[in-house]
Amino acid sequence: MKPSLTARSLLAALLLAAGGSAGAADKSVAITQIVEHPSLEAIRQGVLDELAAQGLKPGQGLKLDYQNAQGNPATAAQIARKFAGDRPDAIVAITTPSAQAVAAATRDIPVVFVTVTDPIAARLVKSLERPGGNVTGTSDATPIAEQLALVRELTPQVRRLGVIYNPGEVNAVAQLERARAEGARFGLTVVESAAPKSSDVLGAARALVGKADAIYVPVDNTVVSALEAVVKVGLEAKLPVYSGDTDSVARGTLASLGYDYYASGRQSGRMLLRVLNGEAPGSMPVERIEKLELHLNLKTARVIGVELPAAVRGRAAKLID
């Protein structure tokens, strides 16, 4: 009696779900994303807007299925299986773990990944020029050299650059290593400060006071989610804070020369459109995100006493005041 009732209620739910997911549309796109995050939302919006610009809107020629693993890798794996079973025309995988889960689940459905820093190390493609297989996308290797040059240009007195990062985040570690390698060229010594959790960020920022002349926040989901703590320490100790992502400038960092994530979504959306039109991902080279933007925070500059020359202001895509 008891198990059969459970089984019946399960079956009912199953049938309900199966009936509900039916529907006809011209092109079907499934998007999987590992976690909610402002930059990732901007990317997804960019992809969708690019599709919309070509007349593909949800419900009008486009069947969209968006799933978010809410930070859980097992859920990301299940989303990948669901998509492999639903067989959409293309899968968009935002971030490395989601892309790896999808690549493990299907070898034939076309996959376009977005914001994967090192697609070769992640084993998503064999080469950047000719990915082979069913996977291609856009890579967002952070432009570290350009950012270090910006640090020297705006604050030439800086010699020791403190970097706050999560040692558990693959992209953040890669950026730290590149900063260390490139730093010598710009006369900068990197002082690292680890923050494995968002709640560790304040302590990690305070640990840099007296040990560093400026703080650099890489594109690191953990640190960026607690960015206000770094900004606060920077303002108190009059340390310039630079960020790898431009969105953080509005939240109080001094400056950033970074990707426009929305634009990178648009760029990935263009690749997605080519895939939807029948091009084989295996023969589409992985694209680097092209567009760099300078964002400056004038208010922060005033508080910590940094002069921003008019020439630099003129180059900025966005001035926060």
């Binding site: 209620s9 779900a17 509900g20 909610e36 890798p73 299940q78 079973g85 639903d86 889960a101 084993r123």
Partner: protein, 293 residues
């Protein structure tokens, strides 16, 4: 829900059934609240992935992962028994430490296994697609391990371990070395969890340092959910309940992923999962209540 999604749910369900069996050993048999699993799951993945990438064969790598998990369990038990740190806190200390240790083992936060030879590679020779064979292979493995675990819990050492959990003072009075049984049980528990991590990494194509987050929650949900469904009175039924609980949990998550027809969106996923699991626990009891009235 497509066949593919359903089989994927079964595959994950079997992987996490190993976690549930491990959690059953610590929480239920030894009555030892053990959070080490949040660290030993990625530990198993990290050890297996690093060794496979270094060129070792996947079977030895997976065994090494189990051994590493056992060591983590021993460390927690040792801290509790010898250093007299409260069991819950000792397991939290091991869990935190393992985060750094896992990073050290892998040398970076993510080790990719896509395209490497894994324990699942020989299945490709059988002709059927991987999404069918992997859940079958994992299912067979889980059932074999369940049978071995049942046998073990009926053995002299196993009975001593159960006595240790039920009433440690009485167990000691009857000449049971409770420290030894706790050490063995915790090692076994975390070896199972690490095995789950190693298999998960090999079927998902990567080991990631963050993949342990919430392992204990899923393991406990499977153990308690399975108990609510089966009301086990014997050891064999109790371990079966762990496996059933894990499978049901994963099928419910797969259902939640298909809940968009209700106007629900991606951000509602965890909420839907919680509601579905809650309903699966309560519905059978409601049915019984009506039958009795």
């Amino acid at each position: 829900m497509s066949l593919f999604a359903f089989l994927g749910a079964l595959e994950l369900g079997f992987v996490y059934a190993l976690v549930a069996l491990g959690v059953f050993l610590s929480f239920r048999v030894l009555q030892f609240p053990d959070l080490t699993v949040d660290g030993s799951f990625p530990l198993g993945a990290a050890v297996a992935a690093s060794l496979i990438v270094a060129g070792l064969d996947p079977w030895t790598s997976t065994l090494a992962a189990c051994a590493a998990g056992a060591a983590a369990g021993l460390l927690t038990a040792w801290m509790t028994l010898r250093l007299r740190i409260l069991n819950l806190l000792a397991s939290i200390l091991t869990m935190i430490a393992l985060y750094s240790i896992n990073l050290r083992i892998m040398g970076k936060p993510n080790v990719a296994l896509l395209g490497e030879s894994t324990v699942l590679s020989p299945l490709a020779a059988l002709g059927l697609p991987g999404y069918v064979l992997t859940p079958i292979a994992f299912g067979v493995l889980v059932l074999v391990l369940k049978w071995l675990l049942d046998r073990f819990l009926g053995s002299e050492l196993g009975l001593a371990m159960r006595a240790t959990g039920e009433n440690p003072r009485m167990a000691r009075a009857n000449g049971i070395a409770t420290a030894r049984t706790t050490l063995v049980g915790m090692a076994l528990s975390n070896a199972l969890v690490a095995l789950a991590g190693a298999l998960f990494a090999q079927s998902q194509g990567s080991a990631d340092v963050t993949m342990g987050v919430g392992t204990i929650v899923v393991g406990l949900a499977a153990v308690i959910g399975g108990e609510a469904l089966l009301h086990p009175r014997t050891v064999a039924l109790a371990t079966a309940a762990c496996i059933l609980g894990s499978l049901v949990y994963r099928v419910l998550v797969a259902l939640a992923l298909n809940a968009d027809f209700l106007g629900l969106q991606a951000q509602d996923l965890n909420l839907i999962t919680a509601v579905l699991v809650g309903a699966a626990l309560v519905l059978p009891r409601l049915g019984r209540g009506r039958a009795a009235a």
